[in-house]
Structures are given as C-alpha cells and as structure tokens.
C-alpha cells in the first residue's frame, strides 16, 4: 500500500489512490481529495459524505448509489449533480472509503 501526502497528512492509499485507512481521513483531507478531482464541497456534498462515512462505520462496506438514496435520503439525481458522471466512485474517493462493491 503506497503512502501519500494529502493536505499535509501522510495517508495510506491503494494503487488507484483511494484511501485505505478509515481513521486517517478528516474534513481537511476530504476537501483536498475533492479538490484533486475538481470539486468544491458544498453543504449538500458534506451531508452525503457524512452519510457515507457513518454508513461505512456501521455496515463495513461503502454504500451504493441506491443505498445513499433509499437509506440516506439523498435523491439519485442530486448525487449525479453533486458528483458528476461517476458519483459512486467519486463519493467514495472524497469520503476516504473504498469503491462500492454492490451491483445496485
């Protein structure tokens, strides 16, 4: 696992750049990760990130788009606006979580 520096913190990432250690993430890192992919985080982004982080802590896997919508209450359409094109992967990246593995 490579170690890289994000927002002045050393963090573990996988080969693609997704963080691998849940506890190494904080808001500052989240902001920096978002910046890496051209996103400026709004309150709605943070609501999504917070759901993903809490849900991961609870479930042990990254929520799929459907779960973020049905359990997290954030409409799918909005997720495509907040994290354009590949919302599931982008949300996971910014939230410091692995890519979701569920199909739906």
């Amino acid at each position: 696992m490579p170690v890289t520096t994000i927002a002045g913190h050393e963090v573990h990432v996988d080969d693609e750049g997704f963080m691998t250690e849940y506890n190494e993430w904080d808001d500052e890192i989240g902001t920096a990760l978002a910046g890496n992919i051209g996103l400026e985080l709004t309150e709605d982004h943070w609501t999504t990130i917070k759901f993903l982080r809490d849900d991961y802590a609870d479930q042990g896997t990254t929520a799929t788009l459907r779960r973020v919508s049905t359990v997290g209450g954030i409409p799918t359409k909005q997720l495509f606006t907040l994290f354009p094109k590949k919302p599931a992967k982008k949300m996971a990246y910014v939230s410091g979580l692995p890519k979701p593995v569920g199909c739906v």
Binding site: I37, T76, P87
Partner: protein
C-alpha cells in the same frame, strides 16, 4: 508492509473526466418474464454509474416492462427452464411441476423475495431510478402498433415511441446488448 512512496505526490484515480467519456451503450429488452427483465436493468445501472450514455429500447414482450398495466405484474415460470432448482439446492426440479396450478404465482413470489433480499428494487421502481440517473427509455413502434398501445399506456419515464431506423441512428457508435 508499507512501501513509502514519498516521492510520489498524490495518486488521483482516473474518473475519465478528461478523456471525454464518449462511451455509449444500448440495451434491447425483448422479454416480459420477471427473470429476464433484470439483466438489462442491472447492467444499465452499472453503465450509468460509470458515466456511460445509456439507452433502453423495449420491443415485443419487453413492452410489458414499460406498460403501466403489466410492469408490476411480471411473472417467473419454471416451465421450459431446465436449470430450475430450489434456492441453495442442486437437484433439478421435475418440469411438469411448473404446469401445476399456482406454480407460476408461487415461483414469482419466491423470486421477488430473493430479489428484494439483495436490496434490488422491483422493475417499475428500477426504471424510475435508471431514468433519474439519466437513462433514456424508448418504445418500439412496431410493437406499439401490433399491440394497439399508445404512449399513454406506458410509464412516464418512456421518452418516445421510435422505429428501428431511429433506434439505429441514436445507437450509432453504441455497444448494443440484446436481452
């Protein structure tokens, strides 16, 4: 265990934002059985999640997937399915069993429970979700004419009724998957 790559700046995943993302995929849905409705829906969901332009073209029995009257009543029959066995069991079931009264209803109920068990929505809800994600749904002109249907018979998510030529035009450069 960890190799420090201090020289590496940050590794950023490639989300394909720069490479244009011109991939396009079109599914032809031609079946109205419950079990055959799902493959295209699940793959379309995956495609949309990858930022791929996605179209679904409904034809023949696939019209039942977008017909308001039938979308919530698709059924699964074990008849003609030699792979049929009880969940978790390997022994194939006697085909004749599928012809007994009530078997299709029972098999449908069981399959619906299994699908719900993996948190996959029913067909109608799934189509709404795909539409929200940006999928475009099209109905086949010939099937509409043949079955005496109109746009009003279809779920709201259907964009339009189109003929094969139009489908060929809109699916130019797309990968086409027939289900």
């Amino acid at each position: 265990m960890t190799a420090t790559t201090s020289e590496a700046t940050s590794v950023v995943p490639d989300f394909g934002d720069e490479s244009g993302g011109d991939r396009k995929i079109a599914f032809i849905c031609s079946k109205g059985n419950l079990d055959m409705a799902y493959p295209a829906l699940i793959m379309a969901n995956g495609a949309l999640g990858e930022g791929i332009e996605t179209h679904l073209f409904f034809t023949f029995w696939g019209m039942d997937m977008i017909n308001k009257k039938t979308v919530d009543h698709l059924e699964f029959t074990m008849l003609g399915n030699t792979a049929m066995h009880m969940p978790g069991k390997s022994g194939h079931m006697w085909q004749g069993l599928g012809g007994m009264p009530g078997m299709t209803k029972y098999a449908t109920k069981m399959m619906k429970e299994q699908i719900a068990g993996v948190d996959v929505p029913e067909v109608g809800e799934f189509l709404t979700m795909l539409h929200d994600m940006g999928a475009q749904l099209w109905a086949c002109q010939m099937s509409v004419d043949m079955m005496g249907l109109s746009k009003d018979d279809m779920i709201d998510e259907v964009e339009d009724i189109i003929n094969v030529t139009t489908f060929m035009e809109l699916s130019e450069d797309a990968q086409i998957i027939f289900v």
